[in-house]
Symmetry: C2
Subunit: 141 residues, 2 copies
């Protein structure tokens, strides 16, 4: 395998830019987030604020977990609970000029990792697919 494909590159060269990434706002209600997740088909997406700063991730599983009561599914909570009450704030983050090796280590346990700039503004995401696409090309040679 040719190691140059991975070893002298930065996160920026693998980035899915923010304008292509579905996201929701911290202040949205859960019903809006559920609609965006269901319609886009993504299992988890970033949560930003109005100034485009990254706050966490929300997934369909987190929303279902939040409304699953002991007796029944409490669907009315979809209209009252907000994304910021349910999202995961403890997420790994990458910078654009981080070495790709740092990204590869993080995607072992995360389907994707959010990328931000030094001021915390959202730049896009680094995904498992972008790495696997290049590994597949390498292995075929």
């Amino acid at each position: 395998l040719d190691s140059k494909e991975f070893l002298d590159k930065t996160i920026a060269q693998f980035l899915i830019p923010s304008d292509k990434v579905a996201h929701v706002q911290v202040g949205n209600h859960l019903d809006h987030a559920l609609l965006v997740l269901t319609k886009t088909g993504y299992s988890a997406i970033p949560v930003l604020d109005t100034s485009y700063k990254l706050h966490g991730l929300i997934s369909i599983t987190m929303i279902m977990d939040a409304i699953l009561g002991l007796e029944r599914i409490e669907f009315e909570r979809l209209e009252t609970m907000k994304v910021e009450e349910v999202m995961n704030k403890d997420i790994p983050r990458l910078l654009l000029d981080d070495h790709v090796m740092k990204g590869i280590e993080l995607i072992v346990n995360h389907p994707f990792v959010c990328v931000e700039n030094e001021n915390g503004y959202f730049e896009g995401i680094f995904t498992r697919r972008e790495i696997l696409k290049r590994l597949n090309k390498q292995v075929r040679r």
Copy 2:
């Protein structure tokens, strides 16, 4: 990168065995599948029949899509619709002695691929994480 890590191995050497894989049955109702998906935290899981043959995959997104009506979420359908009406039957499959390169090509676009034997009985799953774990080890050397 040392290509031996990938190039002379079979799918069996990367397998998550079936006894460790959460699954549901074709005849289960959607409410049962939603509970298994939410409680295990997996976004998608295999669908088997009572004789352990593989029929497809079901995801939380597929279930939400099935009950999302024009006006409101039709939650009563969770108790009436069955997994087999909603699951994705058109899925890639691998055999235990397939070359790992065939698996790597498939996981570029699929988070995991189900593995079955020649008679169609479910053996386990081949996941992106198992490949990325080894790639990460390689890249660190």
